[in-house]
Amino acid sequence: MIFSQLKSLIFFLLILLVILMAVDTSSNFGVKHDFQNDLGKVNLVMGHRVDPDIMIFGSSNSEVGFDVPLLRRLSGKSVYNAALDGTHFLQMGCLVSEFSDYSSQNKYVILGLSPFSLGPMKKVNRIDQFLAYIDNPYVYKSLSSMDPNLTNRCRFIPFYKYTEVNSDYYKQVMIGWKSYLGSARQKEISDTNYGFTPNFQQWQKDQDAVNAASDRFPIPIDSSVCRYLQGLITTLQAKGKKVILIYPPVQKDGQALITNFDAIGQAIKDLGARADYYFDFSNCSISAKKEFFYNDSHLNARGAKEFSLMLFNQMKGVLN
């Protein structure tokens, strides 16, 4: 009796399940085919579509700091900037690991650090960019090391992930589908900046006032993050890649705000000793000039050109 009554409900739930699964599959497919912006970078790496001679990983200061077209021209090598805005290396690590697994042409991996790179991080940034790959062991491990509850809910509760995304996610799905169905079938890198995101702003007017009003603060150095980065370096080296650790310029006023800036520099230097090459630009001549920055830790397009030129001059001896 009860079963016959429930039949209708079960049938309804089955229809609902089929529809939701179709929508889920379709949105996963769409989102995986969006090759624009930061999501595009995740898709290129996770889809094994990018394998340059020189690969750059890092966060926003690397994304705006490494002028890839210039580096390509100067070095004659293929370069790609896979740095993601606001993304800690604990999260970025999954892309590094995946890349080290599949890449065959790549010889050099640049890890671009910032004063915040060695700090602890428990919040996953833009989880929507990684949701399509949450079953990938590297992605799952990276995200769950930061926020295991959120990661497990997104991976194991059916359709839960849709409660964590906003309208941008659905826009990305649409862009992905358009890109897939478009006549050009855009499946290669169409970004002429190769992941570099130049910022054309000048030093922001209110930045001086903000700095003057801000209290000095320390950035904690988390030993487990240091060990994690050491592990990444070792993994890359084991795959035959030369690891270049770079500490890009930090504006002088910004340095002054960080009470343990020197200690962070020392910790990054210690980490650099594990890499094949280490270049510290944090306090170079660029750091003193505000015209090269748009805020304390981010170079503008002009600064990126200057820094990339300086970087190439230091690096050319090691590139072969």
Partner: protein
């Protein structure tokens, strides 16, 4: 409002007091002793509520008065957090002892069942505030699986969840944007925020009530209806028969009516006096702040006005075309509700006055300029991109129309359709919740009370 495990002990304390009070009330024949037991129970309940909800409010006011007369208040400020749902289950517990005292309800002898009556989880935190006559006997009945209850319960929960996460929480984005920085906004933008708040609070609270009713019904329990298309009301009196029905009937049964009876010698003034007292207490029940008292007083004044002018309004209705009278009556009612909710939403009285001045002055310069430029070429309306604002506004319009059309229907509209349309409707609701819902930890507004 907060949940702390140790706060269960407070609940346990009032449960034990009221449980034994009920038994003692029933067992004694002595009227003065009965009254004594009732008073003991009410003091325990109101005492707990007063301590947690009103201690610091009263203390703040003593300090304020002291400053005025030049003395210092040495009563310490306490860092206390209001236990979740305290106002609701206190009223529910009080209704039990009052009903036993009045002889309308037998005392519950099973401690577990009485505790369940107070703590029944679907309605523990934000009502409906149930009566013992409706609930206690249901806990004694043997429950069997009932497919109809399951389906209608799930349906109610689905509709409630839709109202909460798709409508209320999306409107909250706009309302919080404007009210969070109110002096940046003016004119029609502020009026739209006030309108959105009206729909936000309605969808938020009625959404919660639907989820509560639905989850109880799935288990075979029937809770009282808490909302009945309140925006279709033609008067504020009617509004209170349709809005938060469990609270308004509670206040009517245990406060308004007894005061009217006690002061019956005063004639019409007894009713007005009773209305004002009831609504001031209703305001205080909602929150320990003067803006809530003012909100209650405003409602009291309008209700009193409606009471005094009832005959004249009826005469006017007879000589005015029905559609015109109803339309204007609904418009005035809605306008008053918008104004009163401004006080409900804002703790600062000067801010409330600013909102009313700017929102209802269409002749002010730039009144209709609702597009906000954040100086980075991002043009928004109430924090939404323009296309999204247009969608939200149309959504609210559709919801209001649907709610109005359904005002006299006792059934869910979809139930009258054939199965395929019904199922398509359910699927659209589920998909809307999943894909359009806002899930960034927006608690229910009434949880704070």
């Amino acid at each position: 409002m907060f949940f702390k495990p140790e706060y269960i002990l407070i609940l346990l304390f009032t449960i034990v007091v009221d449980y034994y009070a009920g038994i003692l009330l029933e067992s004694t024949g002595n009227p003065s002793q009965k009254k004594w037991y009732l008073v003991m129970s009410l003091v325990a309940n109101i005492g707990v509520l007063a301590f947690f909800k009103y201690y610091n409010f009263i203390n703040d006011n003593i300090t304020g008065i002291g400053r005025l007369f030049g003395f210092t208040n040495h009563i310490p400020y306490l860092k206390i957090i209001l236990p979740i749902g305290l106002s609701f289950h206190t009223f529910q517990a009080m209704s039990y002892t009052i009903e036993v005292y009045r002889g309308n309800q037998k005392a519950e002898r099973h401690f577990g069942i009485y505790a369940l009556y107070v703590m029944f989880y679907p309605q523990l935190v934000a009502g409906p505030i149930e009566r013992p006559q409706n609930m206690l006997h249901q806990f004694h009945e043997k429950k069997q699986f009932d497919y109809t209850n399951l389906i209608s319960g799930l349906r109610l929960m689905l509709w409630g969840l839709f109202k909460k996460v798709v409508i209320a929480d999306r409107l909250a984005l706009a309302v919080d944007t404007v009210y969070g920085d109110i002096h940046t906004y003016h004119g029609l933008t502020v009026l739209l925020a006030a309108i959105f708040y009206a729909f936000q609070i309605y969808c938020d609270f009625s959404g919660y009530s639907d989820i509560a009713l639905g989850s109880a019904r799935v288990m075979g329990f029937k809770l009282m209806r808490n909302f009945n298309h309140p925006f279709a009301s033609k008067t504020i009196t009617e509004f209170w028969r349709r809005w938060h029905i469990s609270l308004s009937t509670w206040l009517s049964d245990y406060l308004y009516t007894p005061i009217v009876i006690a002061k019956r010698d005063w004639g019409k003034f007894a009713v007005i006096f009773s209305i004002m007292i009831t609504f001031m207490i209703s305001g205080l029940w909602h929150g320990a702040a003067w803006n809530f008292v003012l909100w209650g007083v405003l409602h009291g004044i309008v209700m009193s006005f409606e009471f005094i002018t009832k005959k004249r309004r009826n005469q006017l209705a007879k000589v005015t075309p029905g559609w015109l009278y109803s339309g204007l009556a609904r418009l005035f009612t809605l306008a008053f509700l918008l104004i009163s909710w401004i006080f409900f939403r804002n703790g600062s009285i000067p801010d409330c006055i600013y909102i009313i001045k700017t929102a209802f002055n269409p002749f002010a310069h730039g009144y209709f300029n609702i597009i906000h430029d954040d100086m980075h070429n991002n043009f928004t309306v109430l924090g939404f991109p323009r296309w999204k604002f247009a969608l939200v506004l149309s959504g609210v319009g559709c919801f209001a129309l649907l709610d109005y059309l359904l005002r006299n229907k006792s059934h869910f509209l979809l139930l009258q359709m054939n199965r395929s349309i019904r199922w398509a409707g359910y699927i659209i609701l589920i998909m809307s919740i999943l894909f359009l819902g806002i899930f960034q930890s927006n608690q229910f507004i009434y949880f704070q009370f």
